[in-house]
């Protein structure tokens, strides 16, 4: 018999669990990402993971909170590909804020409304701090020369956006720059104070967005340059189109061999590679197949003849089998249509692969970019090979053997001669377990650049924005205290704690970046905030912890805002949850387990 069980959460276990789970994020903030081992005690399998998303992915979520956190982080990751560490860290920090407020007897609705107000303050700070990237594009292609130094468009545009304030800021910057003493790391520092004329270059923005993944970001910059070179004639296209980037993971090569090449790179087996070598430097005719290429594959929703029985009037021995028949048919069709290359989104039948190799037709499976090839070659994707006809076949594809690894696989480049901006980032490593992390890092960097261009704005990174939030949250808290003690007695407390959680965040970033202890970091941040107070203002440009020659660090506006909001959503959901209802509980056992009540 099945029923429901209710678990009461008097002690706000949910928030405590969230706080504990968020511990994963502590070391994943800042530029120095550390790897973690996730080990399964039972199977003794282990995984090397490089981000907190991957940690969550490889953990089995047994509790409701874990599932909720995983769902939130995954949803964030799907859209933004970066910022999950920030989300998780702040969810943990704010859950501790909520717990402390509860301990102080603040009622739940007050916590919710005060934290919402705090979030509004922070979002206003984001709006104020954000600097425009307008005009950032790809500079004239000049190989891979380093980007010209200087802050360029970013600060200049801020100066225009709030003119008066900016001049004040400059003045202050000059004053405070004398205080600069500490160098923590190249990642925890403000920008150079020299204001130059805008010198648009995506590489500059990219540098500030690399967040320690310099090599991955170099690949992204390379990809962007390649894309803009490939679509020279089309001036309208964005400087970097993340939808036209794919990755190819190539084990067995040192990491320095990572590079970006135009078109799509696939890994092929020896016999396919042989055909590829045969086909190189020729303009090929291409056919595109959506789904698997095999005799038994049927489109989604097709179940065949239900309840059908086959009746034969003669023994079937003398005749070709169904598969054989299909193989012959497809082979001759491909030959008739003079197709040299078939790109398949699913799997390719081995038998057909063998046959076609003999006929120098290259079949490539698991290709994810059929649409791009369809757009540039005019080929029409079909589901069944038998659907292929003259007008379905596209032309102008080239195949080149990229690198012979002298192993079982060969990397082959497939590109179109048309104006396609499809590029492939080839990611290499000698350590197989690292490949996943490297690929994740590449995508994180790619999306950071993509989102920066999309938002047309950036936030000062390395904790600068958070510092400004701390300042404004504290200011708001002080004003609350002054304004009305009776009406909002809790507001100041909640806002104060929220500010503290940001200090916590900044010190975690600093500690991870600079190898200093969290306590030292706390002290430095507090010192900095006191300085701001004595100067009677805070500006994101104002940065005593600056090293002149080092470029600025930036964060994405949308990523940060969304991560904060989602973190707060998580805290609110758990804060307002007081019970867990477990359904379909088997009641044959005796009594309810501890802490559970059977309904």
């Amino acid at each position: 018999m099945l029923g429901s069980t209710i678990r009461n959460q008097q002690q706000h276990v949910g928030l405590q669990k969230l706080s504990a789970l968020a511990g994963i994020a502590h070391s994943s903030l800042g530029p120095n990402k550390k790897f973690k081992f996730v080990q399964d005690e039972e199977s003794e399998e282990s995984a090397l993971v490089g981000s907190c998303v991957r940690v969550l992915d490889s953990l089995e979520q047994t509790c409701a909170v874990g599932q909720l956190v995983h769902e939130t982080v995954q949803a964030h990751q799907r859209v933004y590909h970066t910022g999950s560490g920030c989300l998780l860290f702040l969810a943990g920090a704010w859950s501790r804020v909520a717990l402390e407020c509860l301990r102080n007897g603040v009622p739940v609705p007050h916590i919710v409304s005060a934290m919402t107000e705090g979030m509004d303050v922070c979002l206003a700070v984001c709006r104020k701090c954000s600097v425009s990237t307008g005009g950032v594009g790809v500079g004239p292609s000049k190989g891979f020369a380093p980007a010209p130094p200087g802050v360029g468009p970013v600060e200049a545009s801020q100066a225009t956006s709030n003119g008066q304030a900016a001049t004040k800021v400059t003045h202050k910057t000059l004053n405070t720059s004398e205080h600069r003493k500490t160098k923590l790391s190249r990642h925890f520092c403000g920008g150079p104070t020299v204001r130059q004329a805008p010198r648009p270059d995506i590489a500059h923005v990219a540098e500030g967005l690399s967040h320690g993944c310099v090599r991955a970001m170099d690949l992204v910059v390379e990809a962007s340059r390649l894309q803009s070179r490939m679509s020279q004639q089309d001036r309208q296209c964005p400087a970097f189109d993340v939808t036209k980037v794919v990755t190819c993971v190539l084990p067995g090569l040192p990491e320095e061999h990572a590079h970006v090449s135009p078109g799509c790179v696939v890994l092929l087996h020896a016999e396919q590679a042989f055909v590829a070598r045969h086909l190189k430097e020729r303009h090929l005719n291409v056919a595109l197949i959506h789904g698997d290429l095999s005799s038994t594959y049927r489109h989604l929703g097709f179940n065949g003849l239900m309840g059908g029985q086959h009746v034969c009037d003669q023994p079937a021995l003398s005749r070709l089998s169904k598969e054989e028949e299909w193989l012959v048919k497809v082979e001759s069709l491909l030959l008739d249509l003079e197709v040299n290359l078939v790109l398949v989104s699913g799997l390719v039948s081995d038998a057909l692969l063998q046959r076609c190799c003999r006929r120098h037709i290259l079949l490539v499976g698991k290709v994810t970019v059929l649409k791009e090839f369809s757009n540039t070659t005019g080929a029409v994707p079909v589901t069944y090979a038998t659907q292929l006809s003259k007008h379905c076949v596209g032309a102008g594809v080239k195949v080149a053997v990229l690198r012979d690894l002298r192993t079982s696989v060969t990397a082959v480049n497939i590109s179109t001669s048309g104006s396609s901006s499809l590029v492939t980032a080839v990611i290499t490593s000698l350590v197989h377990g690292k490949l996943q992390a490297l690929e994740d890092q590449f995508w994180a960097c790619a999306y950071r650049v993509h989102l920066a261009l999309q938002d047309r704005a950036l936030l000062p990174g390395a904790g600068e924005t958070e510092m400004s939030c701390v300042y404004h949250l504290r200011k708001r808290a002080e004003r609350q205290v002054e304004r009305d003690r009776q009406e909002t007695p809790y507001r100041a407390l909640v806002l104060q704690r929220m500010a503290d959680s940001f200090v916590d965040y900044i010190s975690a970033v600093m500690a991870n970046a600079g190898g200093i202890s969290r306590v030292t970091a706390w002290t430095l941040v507090s010192q900095r905030l006191r300085d701001c107070d004595t100067q009677g203002g805070f500006s994101s440009d104002l940065s005593p912890l600056v090293q002149e020659e080092v470029p600025r660090v930036y964060d994405n506006v949308s990523v940060k805002q969304e991560a904060w909001r989602k973190a707060l959503d998580l805290v609110f959901l758990l804060l307002q949850t007081d019970a867990e209802v477990i359904t379909r509980v088997d009641r044959s056992g005796d009594g309810a387990p501890a802490g559970l009540m059977l309904l």
Binding site: E71, A75, H299, L300, L305, Q309, D569, E580, T583
Partner: protein, 562 residues
Amino acid sequence: MSRLVQKSPSVCVDLPLDNSDVCHKLRLLGQLLSSCFGPTGRLKQVHNNIGGHVVTTSTSSVLLAAISSSQPLLNLIISSIRKHISRFSDCGLFAAFLCVALTEQAKQSGVRRNVVIGVNKHLLALCTRYLHQEDCWCKVELDFSSQNLITLARSVLSSKPGNMLTAKETLHISKLAVQAFLLTVPCNSTGTATLGKTVTVSVQGHSVLDSAVFPGLLVDMPDVFDQEGNQPSSPLCVGLFSVSLTGELSEVGDGIIEVHSGVDTHSQILDQLLEVGKQVVDDGVKLFVCQKVIHPVLQQYLRSHGVVVVERLGVNLMQPLAQLTGAQPVATLHTSIPATAYGKVKHLISRQFGSRTLLHLLPAEESEICTMVLCHRSETMLSELKVACQTTEHVLRLALREPLALLGGGCTETHLAAYIRHQGMHDISETASALECSHTECQRGVEAFCRSLESVAAALQHDGGNSLIDLTCAHHWTLPADEHSEDNLGRCGCGMMESSPSKKWSHLNSKYLDFCPAPVSRDSTVQPRVLDSFTAKVNALHVAVETANIALDVRYIIQDVN
């Protein structure tokens, strides 16, 4: 070989309400549901015991659908409330908690069960009569030209904290809900007017403020290789198929077909599909929609002739689409399609919401179909918001039939309790003689009923605050936990009254001298801030009282344990 197992005898429980286990579980159910009640209600995480999907909710429809009990008496209550929710969507928690409260109060009062049942019936009739009276002071008439509709919508939305909406977002969604509702009301129909339909499309990962309402339908674009052909001038001819066009024999049923080995059934059916395709193209169809899967070869054929193909529409969208386009869904392949089966759309627009590309079908003529695109940051909150929006739509529709609303925020409950207490005491002798019971018994019965109603109002408070009632209009007021004076209470639950030092108060759980509640002195500028659906609440009241009466009336529970 069959084996005979001796049946175990049925289990009979005498007077289930005297059983401590039943009482304990009833109290638990009451706590579970009352803690979800209202805008500051607590959420529940619902999941199964094998790590299934976690739903965070405080909505009665989601919560009650998930829970079941080992006690048949509780299941009786749960299923009765579920039935109410399926008919009215709203006031489920009110009904459930009132029912539990009535049962518990009746037990505590110590009055004979049959007397309690009689008193309950009598008082329910009294309530119903009062609520339908002209001079019922907890009722407002809904004026469709004023803000009332938005207030009604906002009250429903803000009573679900799982939505995680800010005040601004709540207002935005309330306006959208009213807009969508108004779009489904036919403007100039003669004869029987039928309401249209609002289709909800949810998009995850976007700001709530990106949500919008569109006239017409938004359907998923075929993700594979959409084509934005140059559209011919409007209107476009639409073919709608409910039969599967996947290329299999779906209409065979359970029979067996014997097929000769040499026969390729697949290609034969495909030929038939292509026949359909040919006819459709000849008939000038520009939009081809199928509820189920379309064979890729047919899709390719149609696309090559400039037809926009939409497959896997799903059964839910079939009826709205048929209504929008005027097309008759084709359910068979065996006859040629009559020209009357085709419908029309005015225009097609491709719209992008995050990762979702939707095809917007605009109606050729006036149509009562609209689509509400709901956006929210995460799946959990989005699904809660979706349920809340559906409830809102239902509540607004109910308001069309009965353009009335009850004051929210607990004011209706306290007001009704005060009225019943006064009126019930007034004709107590008649009631007592009609029920053949003593004066005192009858009095305690009335008190139990009123306390139950008041406990529902008090259940809106979850943070240790106190519930008060004013002794003139009998509205509901909240005194926060850290406040001890009654000087600064602000406004009452529904927002119609403002506190003043001259007002007299009583705590809800304390006795006060009964009085006839007066109407709020009408200041036309003051509008109620919280409104509840009249129809849903009156029905919920009926369901709660009648279910409680049944629960009180159960003498034996006989369970077949085999």
